[in-house]
């Protein structure tokens, strides 16, 4: 389990995250939601050590992540920031192989290759493994990066807006894969999401932030209702149940 205790972060005079304390439950998808500038990505970056918190600490199974060795940490927690702008000319297989870097330092053994093969197959990338990344579509590229993170074989997978720039079909595809990772492989997934309906339909738990503060933290069905959402987004969001999914119909809301 990952615990966040009193995390705060400021950039200059602006406080981006303020005193956030919460637990990330293992074996579940947790979505970070909230308006623009709520501090979701900053929070995720602090959990994954990409950013140092000003105050507070992040505990991974009771030990402070700051004190962990970087390659030990990278075998347990993987973070994928928005990566669509990366146009480095690697083949899909080369990229996914770098997921084994914490274990192999680039010299892959038999076992590493098996992990790479499995990670490629898991995202249906086996056929295009020798293509260069810059020859792929946005959705394929995102799948390649997620495949790399799977090859990294960590218990925790943190994703910063993985649906950015993806169309509906590819977004659904990615979310289904994340669901499979949790249900079949027992991973713990934390995602920053902009689309509240993807958060509602696919996540087990929701963490809502606003102006850097934690507003809501709980199981999805306790958060996706009009009262709670008003607190987060300052607008009226009717929620309808469709095929067992809670869908927020906010498109013609009059506040």
């Amino acid at each position: 389990m990952i615990e966040l205790k009193g995390l705060s972060k400021s950039f200059g005079k602006k406080t981006v995250v303020e005193d956030v304390t919460l637990k990330i439950h293992a074996g579940a998808i947790t979505s970070f939601i909230g308006p623009n500038g709520a501090g979701k990505s900053t929070l995720l970056s602090m959990v994954s050590r990409l950013l140092d918190a000003d105050t507070g600490e992040v505990l991974l199974d009771q030990s402070d992540v700051k004190k962990m060795k970087s390659d030990a940490f990278s075998k347990r927690v993987a973070i994928l920031k928005q990566a669509n702008h990366l146009n480095v000319r690697l083949t899909v297989r080369e990229l996914v192989s770098f997921g084994r870097y914490p274990y192999s330092k680039g010299r892959l053994n038999e076992e590493d290759h098996k992990f790479v093969d499995k990670a490629l197959a898991y995202l249906n990338l086996t056929d295009m493994q020798d293509k260069f990344l810059d020859e792929l579509s946005g959705g394929q590229k995102q799948r390649a990066f997620i495949s790399m993170v799977i090859a990294q074989d960590t218990e925790y997978i943190l994703l910063d807006e993985p649906l950015n720039n993806l169309d509906m079909k590819h977004s659904v595809q990615i979310m289904k894969i994340l669901r499979k990772l949790v249900d079949e492989l027992g991973k713990t997934v934390v995602i920053v999401l902009h689309d509240i309906n993807f958060a509602s339909v696919y996540s087990d738990r929701i963490v809502a932030l606003k102006d850097g503060r934690l507003v809501k933290d709980g199981p999805t069905n306790e958060i996706i209702n009009s009262e709670s959402l008003r607190e987060v987004y300052d607008m009226h969001i009717p929620v309808q149940v469709q095929d067992g999914c809670r869908i927020c119909v906010y498109f013609n809301s009059n506040n």
């Binding site: 970056s45 994954s48 050590r49 990409l50 970087s70 390659d71 030990a72 940490f73 990278s74 075998k75 993987a78 973070i79 994928l80 920031k81 990566a83 702008h85 990366l86 146009n87 480095v88 000319r89 690697l90 083949t91 080369e94 770098f98 997921g99 870097y101 914490p102 330092k105 680039g106 260069f132 810059d134 990294q152």
Partner: protein, 322 residues
């Protein structure tokens, strides 16, 4: 440029060009002349031709690798020691050491120049981190401006000391003066290239950005610094022995990247041999065009290199922007 080079093709090219290079010159040497150990031809061969060949190969391979590392670490295809102030900083270091520390030993001057090259490229990388607008063309333009500012200091110092012409001659890329005893510093590039190959995977990972590298447990800062040290070592040794060779570090890694990608473990061997072949070719042209005289190799490199560079530019920015 749909060329797909195999490594053996590049090696064969280097061998053919090397043999050609050895038997071209003001004095006609035939292979049979070399059988006589005491002949003038053998002496010229050993004192002038062979050192020249080694110098060209080392400088070509070295500048290619230096460019490759800079492009990977700056994540920009158009950055190289010539467009990042590295060479200008090395040059300033040499001028300062010549003017103000004239009693300094040769080794001292080398270290002085190396320190300048290192600090120069380091400041450029810091500049890159500070600017938000990382356009493919904008970044090298900043590098060129930055290099010119450093260059202005050099020119001012040289002008004040009345050595402007000497300085220009000194830094003009040329292998004319390369003879036995005057080029051996270039061998320092060999361990630098070997270290680059050992670090190839780390440079590739670092080339995908700090967050990406950190996620894989890589110490980004350390890798960045090692890369800059390698670039500074290679640039300094090349500048001190043969002068400034433009464009090579820019176009050779890009040509390799086009058909082989950006995985440095794969591209470093190709870059070494293509860099050597390119410079050998340019040097042969320089020696044939006004035979038995020759023109400085950097002129030939600039003409051929800029043509290739323009083609690359017109092929589109999309490819260059990572």
């Amino acid at each position: 440029m749909g060329l797909k080079m195999k490594l053996w093709m590049l090696i064969v090219a280097v061998i053919i060009l090397s043999v050609t290079s050895l038997f071209i010159g003001a004095i006609n040497i035939k292979p049979s002349d070399l059988l006589n150990w005491d002949s003038l031809e053998t002496q010229i061969f050993l004192i002038s031709r062979l050192p020249r060949l080694f110098a060209i190969i080392l400088a070509g391979a070295g500048m290619g690798i230096a460019g490759l590392i800079m492009q990977s670490l700056s994540r920009n295809k158009f950055v190289s020691p010539t467009t990042a102030g590295t060479l200008d900083a090395a040059k300033l270091g040499i001028i300062i050491s010549m003017l103000f520390f004239s009693g300094m030993s040769y080794i001292g001057q080398i270290m002085f120049s190396f320190a300048f090259a290192l600090i120069g490229s380091f400041i450029f990388m810091q500049l890159l981190e500070r600017i938000k607008f990382k356009d493919a063309i904008f970044v090298p333009l900043i590098g060129i401006m930055y290099g010119n500012i450093i260059g202005a200091f050099s020119t001012f110092l040289a002008y004040e000391a009345n050595i402007l012409q000497n300085v220009d001659t000194f830094f003009q890329g040329s292998f004319t003066l390369v003879v036995s005893g005057r080029y051996e510093l270039l061998y320092v590039a060999v361990p630098a290239i070997i270290i680059a190959y050992i670090y190839a995977n780390k440079f590739t990972v670092a080339g995908m950005g700090e967050d990406f590298a950190k996620n894989l447990g890589l110490s980004y800062r350390t890798v960045l610094n090692i890369g800059l040290i390698i670039v500074a070592v290679i640039s300094t040794t090349v500048v001190l022995t043969v002068g400034i060779i433009p464009f090579l570090g820019l176009i050779v890694p890009n040509l390799v990247s086009l058909y082989l990608g950006d995985n440095l473990r794969k591209t470093i061997p190709h870059t070494i041999f293509m860099g050597a072949a390119f410079l050998l070719f340019c040097d042969i042209i320089s020696r044939l065009i006004v035979h038995p005289y020759e023109i400085p190799v950097n002129t030939t490199v600039a003409v051929i290199g800029s043509a290739i560079f323009l083609i690359m530019l017109f092929r589109g920015k999309a490819y260059a922007q990572k």
